[in-house]
């Protein structure tokens, strides 16, 4: 079957989107979630298992503690309490840890070690995956089932002082709160004094059930001067005195009420040796966790070493301690020492509740949950538990009862550990098999595209796609067979969950057919290329087209950009790469223009032969390689020779000045929105624009400019319509429509970006591409570069936080998902989309041959799929990198979205091309 290269490229990109989607699904495992939402959870607590006999314990057990104080110290590393620093600076805490009524643990945090996800983990017991950050873009409120919400529902009065992140997460939960901002990192006294100043009053009052204090000072000191700074010692001493104050107050109150209270001292994340956090070093992951209560009395000589536990265990423990249901998504297991002092029946009851919750979560998230060892252990211990209850109710021999009870407890603890482990593995593990299948699809498509370059960029712009022969070839069936066998082996032996295995057999089979068909196509293309290569080398009359400096630059720039994606700093500062590249591109164009303009003026009267000869040769090469203007060929050479000479007077000066105008525009735009990380503190011109009334008037001027340019474009299309077809008018109209839509969606201070984009497009079209006669491929790649640069000029970055969600609400009263997503995507990718649509309009109105458009489509598909394929491989190899969550993953999402948009653009290209060939 013969396909136009445009249609071929569009098909390839669509298949590539499938591959990327599969890869993304494997890379971002769906977080472990219970299907029932927080509001709907009114189901009764699981009754005590009882073999035969009926138990009277069917309700939730009563709370163990009357009051709970959670004292969270940001960045409290384990050795600040348990190490030499703790002994030196926190004498009271050390006393409590070593001799007092307390249990101490080293709680291991999971990635990312940043405050907000850690607070979520502490309160919900779940592991917030990266995808959560994306999902919850428009609501900072924590909607998941968590201890705070449960406590509020149970009528507990909660008071909070500290980091205002809590207030954002739990907006209506606190009866009293005072948020402090963590914005001023250099302030480490005020921020804590603002918490402590309420303390005396609150401790005296006693009309609350839960008090949460979040101290930020320690973390701020870490950020400013590192963990070995002397300031740390002062801060720890201050914290120690606060802890003592709270503890003595709680103890004196207990003496009156006789019900134990609980004081929790914990950290949210640790602190690296340089004082930062966010990554996965041991210093950042290990935090101190101390539970203090008079219920934990110990005999003298009872030495309790800090045990290693998971941070997520705290949620389940708090829920049990407050007599609340355990949060549905919690993957933590109860910290057993806290209930050790209770009667055996209560202990088993708590363990059972926790095990039921975990096994329910497992059932909802793992399809083959019955085979999980944790689940089997749970069933077994539940049976034993039932037996124990029966014996207990029958008041059997205490010796037997005690032994059996100990056995059940051990069994439960094992089951809990296994369940918790297999649940947290669900989140933490990459689904390598799905990732691999996705990568294979993407790579096959890319190699197919690469192999078909010579044919697709030939004058005819058509290529032979063997569609049916691979289906009947032996290779195809062999590959299919091997793949199916592999699929069966992998899926039956897989330990963790795998998305691709979870697909239905028909879908998986379809994907495998696709993979093997693509493989056959690649092999046949490879064979054809080598066959042709031999044939050509025998003839060897075919002159190799010479590469101009511009081509070399374009090629090297693209390669360099792809390579730069391997470094996290270059991803953070990717805008710099693009600005750098388009600057260089402009300078190269400038060089080309000046050479063509100035040199030929001279050389023509002198008849400098070599210049002339060289020019004819390049012109011929250009013709040979490029736009394939079959009809223009006889005149091509002479036209390209005279094209610059015909420009006289002001036009020539415009041509000479145009690269500098473009460079100046780009420089202005660059300072409009500072994105990235390192130079983000530089003042934005954009902020200046939105600041006041006078400045806002400038914005209005820009709006008028847009309207003017839009009308001019419309007029231009009218003029063109007189001699060309209606179609170009339509295309220019679509383009203008997109421009107007972008103008509507952009933030006011971003409108200059749009104006300059229109300006640069006009200048480039009029004074550079037309006179210099670049071929379609070069023009496409330049459009792509400028599109990427404008993506960043808009203020975007490779960080999810810069996505402007407000664009999704323009013209909508309430949040409607489909148009909101569409508008946000368009507003974010406006730069690339506008440049691509300008490319379509420009090519279809400028060149009279149809092949230019399909060449452009092919080039666009190739140049967009190259970075995404390389990036997929890079990310796979860097998946244990320190910055995988903070830097590489957001970029992967952006790349995925970009390839989706590219696919849409390519389909649009092809549709235009088809109508063109029909008419």
């Amino acid at each position: 079957m013969r396909l136009g290269s445009g249609a071929f490229a569009a098909c390839c990109v669509v298949i590539e989107v499938l591959g990327v989607a599969l890869f993304l699904r494997g890379f971002f495992p769906a977080p472990v979630r219970s299907s029932s939402r927080a509001e709907q959870r009114a189901e009764p607590a699981a009754p005590e298992p009882s073999a035969g006999a009926s138990s009277n314990w069917t309700k939730l057990p009563p709370p163990l503690f009357k009051k709970v104080v959670i004292m969270l110290i940001d960045g409290l590393r384990d050795d600040f309490v348990f190490g030499s620093k703790g002994v030196k600076f926190m004498p009271y805490t050390t006393y409590l840890v070593e001799k007092g009524a307390s249990h101490s643990f080293v709680a291991e945090a999971k990635l990312p070690t940043v405050t907000m996800p850690r607070i979520k983990a502490l309160m919900t017991g779940s592991l917030p995956g990266f995808i959560d950050v994306v999902r919850n873009l428009n609501s900072p409120e924590l909607l998941e089932d968590n201890v705070i919400t449960q406590a509020k529902a149970a009528g507990k009065r909660i008071i909070f002082y500290g980091d205002e992140t809590w207030v954002k997460l739990f907006p209506k939960h606190f009866v009293e709160y005072d948020g402090t901002t963590s914005f001023f990192v250099s302030d480490y006294t005020e921020v804590d004094d603002n918490v402590t100043r309420h303390l005396d009053k609150v401790l005296k009052r006693g009309d609350w059930d839960v008090l949460i204090l979040h101290y930020l000072g320690l973390d701020h000191i870490g950020h400013v001067s590192g963990p070995s700074s002397p300031l740390i010692g002062h801060k720890l001493r201050e914290m120690d005195s606060i802890l003592m104050k709270i503890h003595t107050s709680l103890l004196s109150e207990e003496r009156e009420t006789l019900v134990p209270n609980l004081l929790v001292l914990c950290g949210d994340h640790g602190m690296s040796e340089t004082g930062g956090h966010g990554a996965s070093s041991m210093e950042e992951l290990n935090t101190a966790l101390i539970l203090i209560s008079s219920a934990f009395e110990r005999k003298p000589g009872d030495i309790r070493r800090p045990k290693h536990v998971q941070q997520t265990d705290l949620a389940a423990t708090l829920a049990i301690g407050l007599g609340l249901p355990i949060p549905g998504n919690s993957v933590g297991s109860l910290l057993f020492p806290t209930v050790e002092g209770r009667p055996v029946r209560e202990q088993l009851r708590f363990l059972h509740l926790n095990a039921v919750q975990l096994s329910k979560l497992l059932q909802e998230n793992v399809p083959s949950y019955e085979k999980e060892p944790g689940f089997e252990q749970f069933k077994m211990s539940e049976r034993l538990h039932g037996n124990w209850i029966r014996l207990y109710l029958e008041e059997n021999n205490s010796e037997v009862l005690f032994n059996l009870g100990a056995k059940v407890r051990r069994q439960y603890l094992d089951a809990l550990r296994t369940l918790s482990l297999s649940l947290s593995r669900q989140v933490a593990q990459y689904d390598i098999y799905s990732m691999l299948v996705g990568t294979v699809v993407v790579l096959e498509v890319l190699s197919l595209l690469l192999l078909s370059i010579p044919e697709a960029l030939s004058n005819k712009a058509e290529l032979e796609v063997p569609l049916w022969s691979p289906v009947f070839s032996l290779l195809f069936y062999l590959t299919l067979l091997v793949l199916s066998a592999l699929h069966v082996i992998v899926c039956t032996s897989a330990e963790s969950s795998c998305y691709f295995c979870g697909l239905s057999w028909l879908t998986a089979g379809g994907v495998m057919v696709l993979v093997s068909a693509l493989l056959c196509a690649v092999v046949s293309a490879l064979a054809k290329t080598f066959g042709d290569g031999k044939f050509l080398s025998k003839n060897s009359a075919h002159p190799k087209p010479r590469w101009s400096e511009l081509d070399v630059l374009i090629l090297l720039g693209t390669m360099g950009h792809v390579l730069s994606l391997g470094a996290s700093s270059f991803i953070e500062e990717e805008h710099q790469t693009w600005y750098f590249l388009i600057n260089t591109l402009c300078l190269a164009l400038c060089h080309e223009i000046y050479r063509n303009c100035l040199l030929r003026d001279d050389s023509e009267p002198q008849q400098c032969p070599h210049v002339e000869e060289e020019f004819i040769r390049t012109a011929a090469a250009l013709q040979d390689r490029s736009t394939g203007c079959d009809t223009l060929e006889p005149h091509g050479v002479s036209r390209s020779l005279t094209s610059l000479d015909t420009l006289r007077g002001y036009e020539k000066w415009m041509v000479l000045a145009s690269p500098w105008v473009i460079l100046t525009c780009c420089r202005l735009l660059r300072s409009l929105n500072q994105t990235g990380v390192q130079w983000a503190h530089r003042p934005d011109l954009g902020h200046w624009l939105t600041r006041g009334v006078i400045e806002a008037r400038f914005v209005h001027v820009f709006v008028l400019g847009i309207l003017f340019t839009g009308t001019k474009d419309l007029l231009k299309s009218q003029v063109i319509a007189t001699d060309v077809t209606i179609k170009t008018v339509g295309l220019w109209e679509i383009y203008s429509g997109l421009v107007l839509l972008a103008a509507l969606l952009f933030r006011p201070h971003n409108l200059p970006v749009l104006v300059f984009s229109l300006l640069i497009q006009t200048i480039m079209t009029k004074f550079i591409w037309k006179p210099l006669r670049h071929d379609a491929a070069e023009i496409t790649i330049m459009h792509y570069w400028f599109g990427q640069a404008f993506f960043y000029f808009q203020g975007n970055s490779n960080n999810i936080a810069t996505v402007d969600i407000s664009a999704g609400f323009v013209g909508l009263d309430t949040y409607i998902e489909v148009p909101a997503v569409f508008l946000t995507a368009f507003a974010t990718f406006a730069g690339p989309v506008l440049w691509a649509s300008h490319l379509v309009s420009f090519l279809s109105s400028e060149t009279s041959s149809g092949s230019a458009l399909s060449h452009a489509c092919f080039c666009y598909a190739l140049i967009c799929s190259f970075p995404v394929s390389a990036y997929i491989i890079l990310v796979t190899s860097l998946r244990y990198h320190l910055f995988i969550w903070s830097v590489f993953s957001p970029k992967l999402l952006y790349e995925g979205m970009h390839i989706l948009i590219t696919a849409a653009i390519c389909v649009f290209f092809t549709a235009m091309d088809q109508t063109n060939t029909k008419s």
């Binding site: 700093s569 600005y579 750098f580 050479r595 660059r670």
Partner: protein, 219 residues
Amino acid sequence: MKDTDIKRLLYTHLLCIFSIILSICIPSFFLENFSILETHLTWLCICSVSVTAVNLVLYLIVKPNASSKRSSISYKVTRFLKCCIYFLMSCFFFHVIFVLYGAPLIELVLETFLFAVILSTFTTVPCLCLLGPNIKAWLRVFSRNGVTSIWENSLQITTISSFIGTWLGAFPIPLDWERPWQVWPISCTLGATFGYVAGLVISPLWIYWNRKQLTYKNN
């Protein structure tokens, strides 16, 4: 006929390299606390002056294109003045280009300008010495097949490699290694210097290697 020329070329280039090395070593005897990274601006000035001086001296001694027909004093003076103006203009031109590439506009002006000066020293000064203040000749040399002697050929190579060195020198700036040499414009000036030195080394070798293929129109 060419081997002697190539030898002369090689010696001049070695002298240029030597001047750069001297500009690194000598000042530490006279100035306290001199180091390339910490007192970078001082080094930039010294290096620029010494390279310019060596270039001028070499030009006067070697005289690669002895085709000055008129040799009146006034002509020479105007020519020299023109060269100075061209040099200044090229400094400002490079400065503007650096700003267009994203160098800060107001802060670090002196640093940016000295960087422009050193890049002009590496590129414009040899051009001025060899070709004189003649933009057309420059454009001819820097287009394909435009060179007419090995001197111009080596000029082309050294200039382009200086530019490429500068260009590549900008790459480490965004990396988060926090090294002293990543500060603007140190990595770029170092890149330019390395590029210039590399060009000086490569060009005689390259010309020697390709001496059979190279045919110049005017030779």
